[in-house]
Amino acid sequence: MDIKIAWRNIWRNPRRTIIIMTAVIIGIWSMIFLTAFMRGMVVDMIENGIATLTGDVKIYASGFRSDPALENRIRNPGPLAEKVQANLPADAHMAARIRVSAIAQNARHSAGVTLVGIDPAEEAGVSFIGDGVATGQMIRPGNPVDIVVGKALLEKFETKIGNKLILMSEDAAHEMASRAFRIRGIFSAELEATEKRFVFVSKSAARGMLQIGADVSEISVMLENHDRADAVAEKIAAAIDTEAYEVRTWKELKPMLKAYINIFDGYIILWYLVVFAAMVFGIINTTLMAVFERMREFGLLKALGMRPWRILRAVLIETAFILLIGAAAGNTLAFSMVYAIGQRGIDLSMFAAGFEYAGMSSVIRPEIFAGDVVLANAVVICLGLVVSAYPAARAARITPVEAMARN
């Protein structure tokens, strides 16, 4: 009966109820949708960061991280790779690469790049290059002249598939090594910086140019779940010689990403509180108005012997109704918008320069995190009830004599 009374009471003034419900809907919607939006950006940044030749876990020779020079390479990587492989979960992927800074040059242009020697099959599921090329063909394993470059680099160099690209780098003997490659394919990445930075050749081409035998620069591991990186890294570190090799997770390799995640978590809470603060005044105001209008009724109920806590409860049930209906509609709206946007994402390329700077791509695919949804709803409903306790207490404290003196 309390529920029935509350339900009827909130519809005594439909306009007011609808206005406050709308505020709750917009509040919840903005919390969930905009959080999903931010989460999408962060997830995107993480995925980009990890897929851009970082991986969840990376194994180097000691010293490579502070000085990524050729002498800090992994010599004779076979046994190490076997040990790493033996300590990976079944669904993980692993790739060994050669990576060195180099100069790319053609008749008109030159630029510093990172020359990466890969086995394309190995990179599948490990890095973005494993997804293949956007145009042309992937490099062939063992081919000495194939090279795959980014779309942005190709445009910058005013060149095309089939053309020559000269790469120069210092080899293992500190001699200048240069080699002519032919552009076989073009990759496209979310970030222009990635497209300009990396060029891919076969491992054997890189090894031949750099005179490093069968050595590699790094072993990169990709897991199904990025959160398991620490555990896997520990397991690998326990199995290998940590004097000679370093094991690092993406959180250590990309401290900026980790920092972004923490900042975003903080933003989300702050954002919730800001949105809620905006709603609070609406909720208190409406509830106060609804209570003051009905003081005589509360007085009557008190006279009839109703306890104050039951009056408090009755008012809170009414607020709860408004909050719950508003929350349900707000959730529905947010979820359906996220669903509608789906994998297409929202293209913000008109502001892309700024996003690029922050390491984000210009197409954002909102991602709903269960924890955020729970938090948003909990904030609105719990805090909503807490703040409406004040008008409810005013209703509960009224005495029948006071109430009847009102007119």
Binding site: M1, I5, R12, E297, L300, G305, R310, M404
Partner: protein, 228 residues
């Protein structure tokens, strides 16, 4: 056997900067089964006296005992319990919850008393039949006339067999014919269910139904003797 015993009750209100003495040294005893009217002009202290009997207001001085309960010794929650179970109220207006139908208004009090759901409905319907509201069970107060609303209030007041029903000018907003109908119902309930009724009024017709008249003027009782 007395159901209401009042000894030496004073009550002073502050209205703005002026102190108004609403009740002066009131002594009053009302017997069980009475059908008593507190009569007097407006501002004489009728409502204050009823409120004090009903435990809605607290006297500055003096003792109040209702149905064997000394108010001075009771907690606030005990008072609420007493009002809920032992005292029925009928006010001048705004007696009903506007969002509930006639039968729901009656049931609601029973729910607060903890009566189970099935019994509530049966008893509410029965009492509405007795006050002559068969067929109006599901009308909201706004769909009922003033007289009908007051009859619902009477039904609600007596549905749980209280020791006493206090009615503050129950007919004030009704025309005389309707008022008379309401009083007839109240009297019938008083007779049939042996429920004590105390009501305030300044209407001669209403006074004529009372078996005891308590005249009050400027906060003092002029004539406390029973008419019977």
């Amino acid at each position: 056997m007395s159901i209401v015993e009042i000894r030496g009750v004073d009550k002073t209100y502050q209205q703005g900067k002026v102190f108004v003495q609403a009740l002066k040294n009131i002594d009053l005893t009302v017997e069980k089964g009475s059908f008593a009217a507190i009569a007097g002009p407006s501002g004489s202290g009728k409502t204050t006296l009823l409120n004090i009997i009903g435990g809605l207001d607290v006297p500055d001085r003096g003792d109040v005992r209702v149905d064997g309960n000394a108010y001075a010794d009771m907690t606030r929650s005990g008072m609420a319990e007493l009002r809920l179970c032992r005292i029925g109220f009928v006010f001048q207006a705004y007696n009903l919850l506007p969002v509930l139908s006639a039968v729901e208004n009656v049931e609601y009090v029973m729910q607060l008393q903890g009566v189970d759901k099935k019994q509530r409905r049966e008893r509410a319907v029965a009492i509405l039949d007795e006050v002559g509201l068969s067929g109006r069970y599901h009308n909201r107060p706004a769909e009922l006339s003033g007289g009908q609303q007051q009859r619902v209030a009477v039904a609600r007041a007596i549905v749980s067999d209280p020791a006493i029903v206090l009615a503050d000018e129950p007919t004030a907003n009704l025309d005389s014919k309707t008022g008379e109908g309401l009083l007839q119902i109240m009297e019938k309930m008083n007779r049939e269910k042996a429920v004590t009724f105390i009501f305030s009024t300044h209407d001669r017709m209403v006074m004529s139904y009372a078996r005891r008249l308590i005249h009050i003027r400027d906060g003092e009782i002029e004539n406390g003797k029973p008419m019977e």
